[in-house]
């Protein structure tokens, strides 16, 4: 559940690979966890700054594949930490133009504190290891895999289990630090710091049969508009907002690990603004070692 929850609490815009870098949180009784996630996404269009949505026609496509590897470990009775490394491939088509890029996406580190078995606070630092949109050189910008900003976020998560039912609630506040880039041809561009926030609420049911769990969550992502300055001008974009609807299914594989699959859809709920809209399927495998 925490993997799915974490992925839904994505930091940042849907355009960028920093989205899936929030690492998996350890279970209350776990000492160590290793995992990997493969996420295939297909952008179906975008909402503009007026909130109007435009979907691609059949001569346009924007697909991506994100492979994440993460590890998290217990640092003490209440403390835990972890890291996530991501590898990204993106392919776009626009009429007669087709383009693809692959490379390292943003990397993240986190430190978590468990107040009790229900409540955990985590601080995450996204390290902009990916190529970013400000330094992109390709016409369709498939090489822009990250936002380029060091982003610090604080997430407060609450979870509870009642019998076979569980539910969770989480909110995240993030801050992207101002940064400077060397843009091809036009020179230095400075980007102002930017705030963002996410929230998710969801629940699940563990079926008695083979302990399969199914869950459903709704998330909201909001990002302040970006302001950039170069020697030509100052330009600002409006805020971004997109809703996630996440359905997931997880299956414990005896003592070997946990397998889960999740579907996320950003086209069902609105309003949305200034954001790419995508549908994605994630397949995850993780193994945890208990205390």
């Amino acid at each position: 559940m925490w993997l799915i929850l974490s992925q839904a609490l994505i930091a940042g815009a849907a355009c960028c690979s920093s989205g899936a870098t929030f690492p998996s949180i350890l279970g209350f009784s776990d000492r160590l966890q290793l995992g990997t996630t493969l996420t295939g996404s297909s952008s179906v269009g975008a909402s503009n700054s007026q909130g109007d949505s435009f979907f691609f026609n059949n001569e346009e496509a924007d697909r991506s594949l994100l492979h994440s590897v993460y590890g998290s470990f217990r640092l003490g009775d209440s403390w835990q930490g972890g890291a996530t490394v991501n590898w990204f491939t993106r392919q776009k088509e626009s009429y007669d133009t087709s383009e693809s890029s692959t490379g390292l996406a943003d990397t993240s580190l986190y430190l978590g504190y468990e107040f009790d078995s229900h409540l955990i606070l985590s601080i995450t630092q996204v390290i902009p290891t990916a190529e970013n949109s400000f330094e992109s050189t390709r016409p369709l910008r498939t090489d822009a895999m990250g936002r380029g900003l060091w982003t610090t976020s604080a997430t407060l998560m609450w979870r509870d289990t009642r019998g076979l039912w569980d539910h969770h609630l989480a909110g995240a506040l993030r801050y992207g630090w101002a940064n400077r880039f060397d843009r091809p041809q036009t020179g230095e561009v400075s980007v102002d710091s930017v705030w963002g926030a996410s929230a998710i609420v969801g629940g699940g049911y563990q079926w008695p049969f083979k302990r399969i769990r199914s869950g459903l969550g709704v998330g909201l992502q909001w990002d302040q508009g970006l302001t950039e300055r170069d020697r030509f001008q100052v330009r600002s974009s409006s805020y971004k907002m997109v809703w996630d609807l996440v359905a997931d299914l997880s299956l414990p594989l005896l003592d070997f690990g946990n397998f889960s699959i999740a579907y996320k859809d950003q086209t069902l709920l609105g309003p949305t603004q200034n954001a790419d809209l995508s549908r994605s399927v994630s397949v995850a495998f993780s193994r945890a070692w208990s205390l």
Binding site: G51, S94, Y95, D96, R183, Q185, G225, R235, T267
Partner: protein, 156 residues
């Protein structure tokens, strides 16, 4: 039945993109009727470099519009008072942005044709509307000036 109606009402009421969207327009056929602008016809100094008598214009081989193959264009720089063009130390830097597509510049390569005329690499437009083209020239080492040239791109 009642549930379905409620669901659809909720989706449309909250602005669900799935239930309230448009499909991107396909590119139109090339606009054959658009005449090719002549370089001589662009001599009115609509866009100028600040604190100079220099003017700039970007002349497309045909009126640009949204979503088609790339357009070719020429950058022309001249002096509005008829004086000879001062030496420009290096090729101008040109880039363009759409006001509603923040932070998505595409590099434009500039090659010298003749004094005051430069060929721009093919330019694709991934949106319609008004684009700002910025032209920077270096008159002397460290002495740069920038002109903004506005280009209207038809939606289809």
């Amino acid at each position: 039945m009642r549930g379905s109606i409620l669901f659809l009402s909720l989706m449309t009421g909250c602005g669900s993109p799935l239930f309230d969207h448009k499909i991107n327009a396909r590119p139109s056929a090339r606009q054959e009727s658009v005449a090719t602008p002549s370089l001589e016809g662009a001599d009115d100094c609509q866009y100028s470099f600040p604190q100079t008598t220099l003017c700039a214009q970007i002349i497309f081989d045909e009126a640009p519009f949204f979503r088609t193959e790339a357009f070719t264009a020429v950058l022309k720089i001249w002096s509005s008072d008829g004086s000879s063009l001062p030496e420009i130390k290096s090729a101008p830097i040109v880039f363009h942005q759409h006001p509603q597509q923040c932070c998505r510049p595409a590099p434009i390569h500039v090659s010298f044709v003749s004094p005051g005329q430069y060929q721009l690499s093919p330019i694709e437009f991934h949106a319609g509307g008004t684009f700002d083209f910025f032209v920077e020239i270096e008159r002397a080492p460290g002495d740069t000036v920038i002109a903004k040239v506005v280009v209207d791109v038809a939606d289809s």
